[in-house]
């Protein structure tokens, strides 16, 4: 590596000065060469630790998982047998996999959509003239600061079928009690509430930061043109929030599809990975974890991991395209009218 540094460093000035036959090679002292090399290579050296660590704990596991997914390997048998794409074939006809996939997508939709709408609304409210703005902003962030495990235990208690507070209130208001553990859709709603509670404030702050960055004069110009508050929100604020919204949507897609702790803690059976009595709320990650560490079928679990990986990329892409479209349609069309 050092030799390539030297030759490169020597070459640069020779290109810069074409005219003389043998450009001044000796003009560069050892010290100068070193400083040229420093300028050229140091940045790579400084960012190298990230890529080295990423390679070891990020890239290598991903690739090794792909390799493992082609084996039938139990945790305690070190060798494993090569099965090619059998794991993936089994996965496609595995009803539990499809159940967990539907659960994951359902919980994801129930949490992400309301979450982002409410987050944008909250950000708009926080963007108005409030007394002690920092206090309010910290306030919406509080659920994010609280420990996820504590939240999980509290919400599992609130949604307890027999002695839970939510059912108590429902009964008080004259509604039927809901078995939040047994009913598949109800369990998804309960888990989505947990996710929304934690992440809405966090996303609201990100959106708020983007709102603050929108130049005031655009709004003022629209005001002079007679645009009301809601029209300004939909025609100015939303389109200008596009890059931020895309970021928020993609990060919540990645997080939402990997949801694990909330459904695990929601299960009445402590420590269970079943996601309810008949997998009502078992998500893909829970199923993957159960397959790897309870059933100890590492090969199959790796296949699940890879399918999830691909799925996240696909859905994130779809979301990216959708958000770009949705957030951009508003401004130009209306502006043309």
């Amino acid at each position: 590596m050092t030799s390539s540094v030297d030759t490169d460093a020597g070459r640069t000035p020779s290109r810069a000065a074409p005219a003389p036959p043998r450009p001044p090679k000796p003009r560069l002292t050892w010290r100068q060469r070193l400083s040229v090399a420093d300028v050229k290579w140091s940045p790579y050296l400084y960012i190298a630790p990230f890529f080295v660590v990423f390679g070891v704990v990020g890239l290598f596991p991903v690739l090794y998982t792909a390799y493992l997914s082609l084996f039938d390997r139990e945790l305690l048998d070190i060798e494993g047998t090569w099965v090619g794409f059998d794991n993936y074939a089994t996965l496609l006809s595995d009803t539990q996999f499809w159940t967990t996939l539907v659960n994951t997508v359902s919980i994801f939709l129930l949490s992400t959509i309301p979450q982002i709408i409410v987050a944008v609304g909250l950000a708009a409210l926080l963007n108005t003239r409030l007394r002690t703005p920092t206090g309010w902003r910290v306030g919406v962030l509080l659920p994010y600061v609280a420990s996820l495990v504590a939240l999980g235990i509290i919400f599992a208690n609130l949604f307890g079928p027999n002695y839970g507070l939510v059912n108590g209130i429902l009964e008080l208001l004259g509604f039927d009690r809901i078995d939040w553990q047994a009913n598949r859709f109800a369990s998804h709603v309960a888990i989505a509430v947990m996710v929304n509670w934690r992440w809405t404030g966090y996303n609201a702050l990100i959106v708020l930061a983007a709102m603050k960055a929108i130049p005031r004069d655009v709004h003022e110009a629209a005001m002079i043109d007679g645009a009301g508050a809601s029209r300004r929100f939909f025609n100015i604020t939303l389109p200008l929030l596009r890059p931020t919204l895309i970021f928020v949507v993609i990060t919540s897609t990645i997080g939402g599809l990997q949801i694990f702790t909330e459904p695990k803690l929601f299960d009445a059976m402590p420590g269970s990975n079943n996601g309810g009595s008949s997998n009502q709320f078992q998500t893909i990650t829970l199923y993957m974890y159960q397959t790897a560490f309870e059933t100890q079928d590492l090969g199959y679990a790796s296949a699940i991991a890879w399918v999830l990986f691909v799925l996240i990329i696909v859905i994130a892409l779809i979301n990216f395209l959708l958000t770009r479209r949705l957030a951009s349609t508003g401004a130009p069309e209306d502006g043309a009218r």
Binding site: G160, A268, S272, Q290
Partner: protein, 429 residues
Amino acid sequence: MQTRVLAGAISLTAMVGLTACGDDGSSSGGSGDGDQIELTIGTFTEFGYEDLLKEYERLNPGVKITHHKTGQGGPYHQQLLTKLAANSGLEDVVAIEEGHIPDVLDKPHLFNNLGDIGPEDVTPDRWLPWKVEAATAKDGTWIGYGTDIGPLAMCYRKDLFDAAGLPSDPEAVKPLFETWESYFEAGDTYAEKTGKAWYDSNSQIFNAMQNQLETGYLDKDNKLAMESNADIRKNWDMVTAAGSRGQTAKLVAFSPEWNNGFKQGAFATKTCPSWMLGVVEEQAGPDNAGKWAVTDAFPGGGGNWGGSFLAVPKQSEHPEEAAKLAAWLTAPEQQIKAFQKTGNFPSQVDALSSPELLGFTNEYFGGVKVGELYAAQANKVEKAQYKGPGDGKIQENATSPALQAVEQGTKSADEGWQQAVDAAKRIAG
């Protein structure tokens, strides 16, 4: 919390690994200050070994012991299996819980045979025969010395029995807990008179019945026996029928709702291994003091739920010293001390007849001599059930959830059975 405990355990192990390496280096350098041996021991929850380990160090000046404690059994055993697979990182002496023993009995080559490397004077007759049987692999490898056991008795609410017109005296209730038929019959009477549940959940009853069969969910050839062993289905039908007649409180064991059920008096009886007394006391709380009682009768004879073993994995560098430590810890004298500290019931024959144990009483349960009571229940167990690999997982991830689904009303008893069989096939196959 769980992850924090895990992370702590991992970093601890890593540190110990490092220091161990360092020591090896220096001793090979020939400093010559005696041959100090470092032993490590891994346990979960509370074994009551802290003072005992210090005592052992005092008695054996050449030995230094490091104790790794993990808060919960689940993550502990997951780590145990992972480290067995990695063939490194395990302690010299590891604790293994009864429910997880079948998984390692299937891989005896990963453990030392205590019959070969253990002290010569430590023979199987130190323990109850079924305790030794439960830790002996098919090829004869004796994997673990027994620590504690969980003999089963029946706990019940005296006041609720009185209210339903049932006998409530510990002697007079015994006929109700004679067989499962008499148990469910009494449950019908109770449910009819009070409109309340008889027991906490279907699975807590079913598991006890299942444990009384000769073989578990797998037969002796390790084939899934759920469809071939008619007794399993018979028990299933009996429990789900009783549950549908209002005998179950539908509370998942150890869930927050279950804890609440103790406070509310949601059920009148509880299958009670020795260690459950502490759980009942904690959950029912001082408000219900004096209402709970326990009797030395159990439908179908008795049984065992819980208890652990100490094993020495092959990866240990000092297997003989480790076996010596494990043998010392599981001697009757030491286990009696652990019992006095934690209530873990000893599995050693001599400990069961020691005056310290027999004289032990429990105030919360009306001053009953629980030591004597559970010693009697332990002696009623005749032999260990044969459990194939995955037995515990079938109970946790196949039958228990399916029984819960039947209680929730989302599945009929037949559909629930089918769900359990399908899930069990996935686990066993």
